[in-house]
Symmetry: D3
């Protein structure tokens, strides 16, 4: 009597509803960047997911990057992009470009897109309301200019806005003691913001399925691991270079008291929904061993 | 890259989430009876659905019948069940049996079952807090004894309990001016309770797929109709005898201001979820023409 | 200048008003049963008192028994009532009868009667909202069937209803882990409910004036005693068999932190008012020695 | 089985409790003066009643006079008291004496006495928080000095204090536009304050049982009358000179929307309790004919 | 381009605004007496300041004296004023005069004056709501009659009134256990009230610029000192007799936890504004060494 | 006895305090641009004023321009700035530059500066939370590209942030139906935002003292005028070209219900404080004739 479509819906719904309830009123921080930001279709699908999470009562906070967009504008202005150890060397001119591109363009495009899907969104930089206080990063490789080290995260303004029902989108420009700007790594900022918000979950979107036992074989996905297992993997050189900052972001959050942190594949449409609302989940979950 | 199971989940979730949000905090009245109450497996599935609706923030109020159980206890006590025009002739002895079976047994079993699936439920009769005030029904066919006509529905106690997060289960025993009991038809009571609660939706579970163009052919389902179309169908003799009180219940609710009333197939597991959370819906919806 | 009637009113009022204030907003649990339940006139007078207490702002919770009514229905259904050590042997059939008679009939009659006197009342069983969680009682005398031992009392639903201004009437059917029913002794339940509610007072209605020094002489009433004095009385065989569960109920409440517990004569009309609102009081009060 | 004392208590309590509930949270204004103020025992009994009313949740506001005390202090200061048409001619020196005696002595003694009986009381003059705004009374008989006519009553400060659980005691000194003091008739002030507070009841204590058909015969008490009947009585010369201002105060309140105003015998101890909490009541009630 | 008047306003405003914010919602207790009370122009200026402080959101509580006014009324009544060690010997007749003059006249004049400048004010005695509980002062010099020693300060009624936006003016008449009155030194009362209110500041108006190194030379003002420095000054005889009670009042407040207490010159118009809203301040500040 | 400095402070404070109270909790919209934005010292002084207004409890909303900064960045990117009728022709490339400069740089610099002076500030664009909804401006002079016409202002997010104690700084980028950006004239936006917020006052900072009778003579300042007088001035050609959009902004606000709108000289340090907190005020006030 029941056709397949009925059975599937029935199955997915009875599975999903308890999760939906579980996440209502909880805070989820999403680190957004990579392929999911570069591809217009994925950008659309991520924005829709953020709006849907917001719809069902989750407090959604997005922390975004935007390196390629900054580099592109620099080249239009005749400035050269330099990197040391994965960090952008940030002189005054670079700082100005990074701030205006991330805060003025990337942030607002995401805000627009979430609103197109029915969410209400507000974009902030780390300078607004002293959200991300920073100081100059001391780096072994020498002077990186305005690359910042996070000193404190004051989430008051995020609390006010999520209480009032807004998705909050954060550009990771920090503010120094004298009011000057700092360029903050977005993965690091996401971990720090999740910690400061006492988030229930951090989701880091990346360009691979998750951590892999064998980096060359996507079928060797590690579904779940503890912080110490993660440290061992890094030590054993089993984490790809690109994934190390993602994993560090998750470790930072877990150490800060966030119960679960996930690295999931931003290239799969609606991967956040699958992670949050199905038994199977997706990607790699970092959590303190239970 | 995406397997079928992923696609199905993704599809059902993106379809369902906006509905879930739409129903949060809204009141849905469910008329429960028939096959869905007689079959233990369906009973379990209905109770699970009620718990799940409650989970995602819907204010759920159940109005139940229980004719077969009353008749069974009457026969154990050597009393004979008589019906006139579909209504049970209710002398004092019958009234006492109906009240103790519905309020003392059927109601509490449903309360238990909802709690088994994680809901919090409270059972009430129409006598508690003067919920259903009634008077003796005047009937063309003569004296039906303690069969009651609803005079007023005071939903204060339901509001208090749903505000506090309980599913409310109502046995349809009315209270007269002198405190005496009345036997109230459950379909009628469901319509009146939905109206008094200003519910967003009334769902009447029945034993067929809905209203049919051709009563002998289940493929001729009428998905949606207006009150006047419904009256025409009745006049044309196109509504089966068993469905008439269901349809009357829905008409009562619509006339009382409930925006939508549904007759759905209680024999299908989880049919309430399909009705509430999918684009397709199920069964027959009565609504004022838009 | 002042006639007698004026003097009496003046005297009773100046005496009563401070007590009335003292009890406003406080919780009083009343164990109701015995002659006060069997006699229609007393039933009416008790219901009026409960409504009056409710009127002046006391949070009133009634825990009722109903053994004779259960036994009567059992005999109508051809079932035989058996007792071991004062407890009803409760096979499945007996359990069903007890539940439907207590919850479906006795409880609702009391609810009706309180409402007739202007109170607003809601009847609950111990199954509603998981109010009385129970497990099978292990008894020295062997298997008593569904006689239950209280595991926990969750008064949330009572709090919600008394906050909203309802008198709550509780039938002492407990709920087991699997949702099954248990038959709970009403005296025991009253003590446990008073404790869980942190009630200010437990009043147990009985069929004698209170505890007596000499059980054959009603003029030897003991007005007040401590728990240890009560234990001595029991040990000395000075407490009549029928009063032992009443006294145990009071002891349970006092040990649970209820400041005062009273055994008063339910055969005297309005004895609750005299106990609560006059200097003299009535019956026997159990309290920790001050 | 029931002795007389039990029966009386039972009777008075069942009669009184519904009244007590009815008056909870309501505002009662008491005009206090005359014999009840001069006799120390009656003073004590009135203060006890005010504390008891306050106890059971009535919002009690007392408006007091004190003519004899003012006259006494004037004579100690070598000033002569003069009256025109029942009003005290109030030159500057008299005004100063009236204010310091009423506000500084009479008011505070009543505050102390209410507190001695367990109430919490705050004394105010009409100057505090601009409670009674007044202007010079124009009088046919010529210049009466600082005798005031009420312009407006701003009860904000009374509301704040009764909300916070205080009995409020008001001395009837008014405040003029320039901040100067006015001597206000206490009967008039009581009616105006009752009106401004939208009180449920005004009780004027006097030195006779109430209005009498035959002023020389206390058995001809008029229990109830309407404003127009009252006007007729005055016109017919059937109201004694001393009672006219009392009756005018009641008329003022009734016209201002206070549902009931009473003149009761302040010489009877606890007459306020008898009026408020018994079926029979006492004295004369003025009310719009129902 | 900027004229002098513009520059001055600009300067004073940029200096004052941060102080104004700092004091919003804070409690300041002002001890009012001396020249500032005797001179009509200063009285007006003080009342205006109190109204202005109230305007910008400060919770203002005034504790006033009034010795000269009491002495004057005593002489009009043929009573002789006697003092021992700076305290007024207070027999029953004197007590009555002190209470009626302070509560009935002085307090109400200040209330009127504050209201004339747009504030809302309520006058209280220490008897109202049991504000200042006192007992008979035991004094080395013998029986001083009704001179009181403060037992407790219950600020509930002040909290209620300042929460509701009133300036509170307190006459220092205390209430004994039996309801009797006590004459309380106003300087002492001010320190005790400031302590009980957990005030942010106590300002004592006096008739000299503050504490002086050399009492005969007003240019030797001590701007700030600690409690122990103050004790040394007293021991060294460097504090004038009239200033000792002022200093004691400040010491009492500081020891009670008030962060800052000031003795300022009440003879200078608007000296309270200068103290509160300018960098320079005025007078002598007592504070725990930072 | 009083030196000049004391007198000046006393005078300015007694003048300013009533204004300060009057403005507490009120909303003031400031249009910021011109010389006050270009000169670093004035920028600092404006930011300090905004922080001070915020300090004393005013809800401060700043709407800023930034044309010179946009033009400068355009030239660095090799883009040419074109204007038609005072409006910037805004092709896609220009729109991108305007958005990133105004939102990413100018807005955040002002946010930083306000915070440096102790305020808490949040910067928004008109795209955040759908604050400024716009459509393409139809202009007589032809296609101006992405120059926008305001359709609606939804101030919900501003209300949330000012309720929570933040200064809000708005960049005037509007959002179209499809989520696209529009370049909105800042003077127009300021008037529309003031209207939508039901502000008490709009202050437009300009580079002259206000409206002048004779544009070549700054001593002919018009202190106050009505909307119709303003329209006459425009018609008479007596308003300089640069002042017309300022005046239009004020007219828009007044017509929208804002009681007072001011054009004041942004070149004078702290001119906002002088306008708000002194009797004299400054500049030209537009208000409906009283």
């Amino acid at each position: 009597m029941l056709d397949d479509s009925y059975r599937q819906r029935m199955h997915v719904l009875t599975e999903a509803l308890p999760y939906i309830r579980q996440w209502q009123g909880k805070t989820v921080v999403v680190k957004y960047g990579g392929a999911a930001m570069d591809d217009p279709e994925l950008r659309n699908s991520v924005a829709k997911d953020l709006a849907l999470l917001h719809y069902v009562g989750i407090r959604v906070v997005v922390v975004h990057g935007g390196g390629p967009q900054v580099t592109d504008m620099m080249s239009r202005l005749g400035l050269e992009a330099k990197f040391v150890g994965g960090l952008r060397v940030t002189d005054e001119a670079t700082m100005e470009v990074a701030q205006m591109v991330l805060v003025g363009l990337v942030n607002k495009e995401l805000v627009s897109l979430i609103q197109k899907h029915g969410g209400k969104a507000v974009g902030l930089s780390g300078k607004d309301a002293g959200l991300i206080r920073a100081t100059k990063l001391e780096h072994a490789a020498g002077d990186l200019g305005r690359v910042g080290d996070i000193v404190a995260v004051d989430t008051s303004v995020i609390d006010v806005l999520t209480d009032a029902g807004y998705v909050v989108v954060v550009s990771t420009i920090g503010i120094g003691e004298g009011g000057e700007s700092y360029n903050i790594n977005a993965d690091t900022a996401a971990g720090a913001v999740a910690t400061a918000l006492r988030a229930e979950k951090l989701i880091v979107l990346s360009d691979i399925p998750g951590l892999l036992e064998d980096v060359s074989d996507e079928t060797t996905l590690i579904s779940q691991l503890t912080p110490s297992q993660a440290q061992e993997l890094i030590a054993a050189g089993k984490v790809s270079k690109g994934m190390i900052p993602k994993l560090q972001s998750c470790l930072l959050a877990i150490e800060g008291g966030v119960p679960r942190a996930h690295m999931i594949d931003g290239r799969l449409p609606h991967s956040m929904l699958i992670e949050l609302f199905t038994d199977a989940g997706i990607g790699t979950m970092l959590t303190v061993g239970e």
